[in-house]
C-alpha cells in the first residue's frame, strides 16, 4: 500500500486547496447583496422558463454518430504509431474496420440522417 501514499497526499492537497480557497474567500470578501446579484446568472440574459425541456432528437442522433466516427479516429492513431510492426496484417485489419464503418456511413447518408432540416 506504500506506493499509494503519494496519491493520498495528492487527494488531500486537491481537496484542501478547494476547501481552503472557498473558506478564505467567504471570510475576507465584503458582502454587499442586492436583487440583481442574487438572481440566477445565465449568459447575461434574464433566465426564463424551465431549463428541463424537450430537446430535438436530431441533436442526439448527431452526438451518437459523432462518437462513432470519433472512436474510429481514436483507433487510427495507435495503428499509425505501430504501423511498421503490424505490417500487412494491421493494414488489412484496419481496412476491414474502416470498410465496416464506411458501410454504416453510406447507410446514414442514404437514410438522410445527417440532413438537418
Amino acid at each position: 500500500m506504500r506506493e499509494y501514499i503519494p496519491v493520498l497526499l495528492f487527494l488531500l492537497v486537491a481537496f484542501g486547496f478547494a476547501a481552503g480557497t472557498i473558506a478564505l474567500s467567504s471570510i475576507i470578501v465584503p458582502l454587499r447583496r442586492n436583487a440583481v446579484k442574487n438572481s440566477a446568472y445565465e449568459c447575461g440574459v434574464v433566465p426564463m422558463g424551465d431549463a428541463r425541456q424537450r430537446v430535438a432528437i436530431k441533436f442526439y442522433l448527431v452526438a451518437v454518430l459523432f462518437i462513432l466516427f470519433d472512436i474510429e479516429a481514436v483507433f487510427l492513431y495507435p495503428w499509425a504509431v505501430a504501423f511498421r510492426q503490424l505490417g500487412l496484417y494491421g493494414l488489412v485489419e484496419m481496412a476491414l474496420f474502416i470498410v465496416v464503418l464506411f458501410i454504416g456511413y453510406v447507410y446514414l447518408l442514404k437514410k438522410r440522417a445527417l440532413e438537418w432540416e
Partner: protein
C-alpha cells in the same frame, strides 16, 4: 511490456471463423441492398438472411471436428462452439421463416429487421465461442443491442415502445453488473482469459477471497438477467408481450440459450465446474425461478405473457442441471436448451399466425374452437404444449428426464422434488390452452389464421424436431455430451 509479435494472416483458420464472417458480411450486404430498389412485396431480405444463416451453419459444419484457438485464445472453435453455432443458426432461420409473413402483415417490413436479427444471431455465436470475458461481453452487447431495437420495432405501438425501453434500461443495468463482475475477476486473477484464469486458480485457489466471490456473483447476476431467472425476470413478461411476436420467439429461444452458453463456458473452463460457493445460490435461484414462473403463468390470460412466464420456469429447470454441475450437468443443460428452443419457437410461431392483417389475437380465449376449424394449428399447438409441460412422447419430457436424472445423480433430491412438483403445476396452464382449442366455443368473432408457406415450413420443422427428439433423444444427447467433452 513485452513487444507484441506481429500477427500473421495465415495463422487464422478461415473455416472456424466462417460463421462469424458470413453473418457479418450478410448483415452489411443486406444493409446496403436496402438502397437498391426492389419490387414491392419482394422477399429478398428474408431470402438473403436465410442464405446467410445457411452459409454460416455450413461453414461451421465443415469444420466441426477441428479444434482451434484463434486471436490469442479469445475465440475458440470446439465442439461446444459448433453445437451452439448450429443451434443459433437454426433458431435464426426458424425466426426468419416466422417473420416472413408476420412482418409484412403487421406493417414492419424493413430490411433493418433482418439486419438486426442477423447481428443478434452473430452476437449469440460470439458469446458461445468466446474464451475471454471481454469477448463474451462484446458478443452479449451485440446480441442485446440488436434485440432492444427489434423489441421496439412496432414503432406505432405504445406497448412495443414501452417494452423496448424497459428491456433497454434493465438490460443496460445488467450489463453494468456483468462488467463490474468482469472487472473484479480481473482484479482477483489478473486476467480476463478463461484458460489463463483456470491456470491461475489451479495454482492459487481463491477460496473465500471477497473480490473473487463478489466478481463471480456479479457475473452470475448479469447472466441471470439475460436468461430471465428470478429475481432478475421482471422485464420478461412486458418485453415478450410488447415485442413483435416473431421477435419474442427469436429472443425467448436465442437470448436464453446464449446466456446459458456463456455461463456454462465460464463455469466449466475458468472456474473448473461451478464453484462451491455458487451451489446454494444457484439452487435458490433455480427453486425461485421454477416456482415463480409456473405459479404466475397460472394466472395469465394473454398467451404471450403466459409463454413468457413459462420461459422463466424453463430457465429454472436448466438451472437445476447447472446446480448438478460437471460435464453431465452441462450436457443435460445443452440438451434441454436445444429442445426448449424448438418447442418454444413453435409455440410462439403459432401465435404469429393468429389473426388476419394487422389484427393480432394473443389471448388464450382467442384459441377457442380453433382446434377443429384449423386441425394443423390445433395439433401443433397441442404437441408444443404437451412438450413444454413435459409429457411423453415429446422432446420436453426427455429434456426433463435428463435434467432430473443428472440432479438425482448429484444427490439433489429436494431440488428434483420441487422441479417435478413444478412440472405438475405447469401442466395445468399448458392444458388450459388445449382445452380452449378443443372444448370451448368462441365468444364473439372466431380467430382467423394467416396462412403463409414459410411459417408453415417453420411450424412443421419445429413440430418434427419436438416429436423426433421425444422418440430418438439419444442422438441429440450424444451430440450434447460430445460437444461438452470437446470443450477447449
Amino acid at each position: 511490456m513485452t513487444p507484441v509479435p506481429a500477427p500473421q494472416l495465415i495463422a487464422l483458420d478461415w473455416w472456424a471463423l466462417g460463421a462469424v464472417i458470413a453473418l457479418s458480411a450478410g448483415a452489411m450486404l443486406l444493409l446496403l441492398l436496402e438502397f437498391v430498389p426492389a419490387k414491392p412485396g419482394s422477399s429478398r431480405a428474408a431470402v438473403l438472411s436465410l442464405l446467410t444463416l445457411a452459409i454460416s451453419a455450413a461453414a461451421v459444419f465443415v469444420a466441426r471436428d477441428a479444434r482451434r484457438s484463434i486471436f490469442d485464445g479469445m475465440f475458440v472453435h470446439d465442439g461446444f462452439t459448433v453445437f451452439f453455432t448450429l443451434l443459433f443458426c437454426a433458431i435464426g432461420a426458424v425466426s426468419v421463416l416466422l417473420s416472413w409473413d408476420y412482418v409484412r402483415r403487421t406493417g414492419i417490413h424493413h430490411a433493418e429487421y433482418y439486419v438486426l436479427l442477423l447481428c443478434a444471431t452473430l452476437g449469440m455465436i460470439v458469446m458461445a465461442a468466446s474464451n475471454d470475458l471481454i469477448t463474451i461481453f462484446v458478443g452479449l452487447e451485440l446480441m442485446s443491442l440488436g434485440l432492444y431495437v427489434l423489441v421496439g420495432f412496432r414503432r406505432a405501438h405504445l406497448e412495443s415502445n414501452e417494452a423496448a425501453l424497459k428491456y433497454f434500461l434493465l438490460g443496460a443495468f445488467a450489463s453494468g453488473f456483468l462488467l463490474y463482475g468482469i472487472a473484479l475477476l480481473y482484479g482477483a486473477t489478473g486476467t480476463t482469459s478463461l484458460t489463463r484464469m483456470a491456470a491461475f486458480l489451479s495454482e492459487s485457489p481463491l477460496r473465500g477471497n471477497p473480490m473473487f466471490v463478489a466478481g463471480g456473483l456479479l457475473l452470475l447476476t448479469g447472466f441471470a438477467f439475460k436468461v430471465a431467472a428470478v429475481p432478475f425476470h421482471m422485464w420478461t413478461p412486458d418485453a415478450y408481450d410488447g415485442a413483435p411476436t416473431s421477435v419474442t420467439a427469436f429472443m425467448s429461444a436465442g437470448a436464453k440459450a446464449a446466456g446459458f452458453a456463456a455461463l456454462l463456458r465460464v463455469g466449466l473452463t475458468a472456474l473448473g465446474g461451478m464453484p462451491a460457493e455458487w451451489g446454494p445460490i444457484l439452487s435458490a435461484i433455480a427453486i425461485l425461478t421454477m416456482t415463480v414462473g409456473n405459479v404466475t403463468a397460472l394466472l395469465q390470460t394473454n398467451l404471450k405473457r403466459m409463454l413468457a412466464y413459462s420461459s422463466i420456469a424453463h430457465a429454472g429447470y436448466i438451472l437445476v442441471a447447472l446446480v448438478a454441475g460437471g460435464r453431465d450437468g452441462a450436457s443435460a443443460a445443452l440438451f434441454y436448451l436445444a429442445v426448449y428452443s424448438f418447442m418454444n419457437l413453435g409455440a410462439f410461431g403459432i401465435v404469429t399466425m393468429l389473426g388476419r392483417g394487422r389484427e393480432e389475437r394473443v389471448l388464450v380465449s382467442d384459441l377457442a374452437g380453433l382446434g377443429f376449424r384449423q386441425p394443423l394449428v390445433g395439433l401443433a399447438m397441442t404437441v408444443f404444449m404437451i412438450s413444454l409441460g413435459g409429457i411423453p412422447p415429446t422432446a420436453g419430457f426427455m429434456g426433463k428426464v435428463y435434467v432430473f436424472k443428472v440432479a438425482l445423480g448429484a444427490g439433489l433430491v429436494p431440488l428434483v422434488i420441487i422441479g417435478v412438483l413444478n412440472s405438475v403445476v405447469s401442466v395445468f396452464y399448458y392444458l388450459r390452452v388445449t382445452v380452449a382449442l378443443y372444448m370451448q366455443e368462441p365468444q364473439g368473432e372466431p380467430t382467423e389464421v394467416s396462412w403463409a408457406a414459410p411459417a408453415v415450413v417453420a411450424l412443421l420443422v419445429t413440430l418434427a424436431l419436438t416429436l423426433w427428439w421425444g422418440i430418438q433423444a439419444h442422438d441429440l444427447l450424444l451430440e450434447a455430451q460430445r460437444s461438452v467433452m470437446g470443450l477447449l
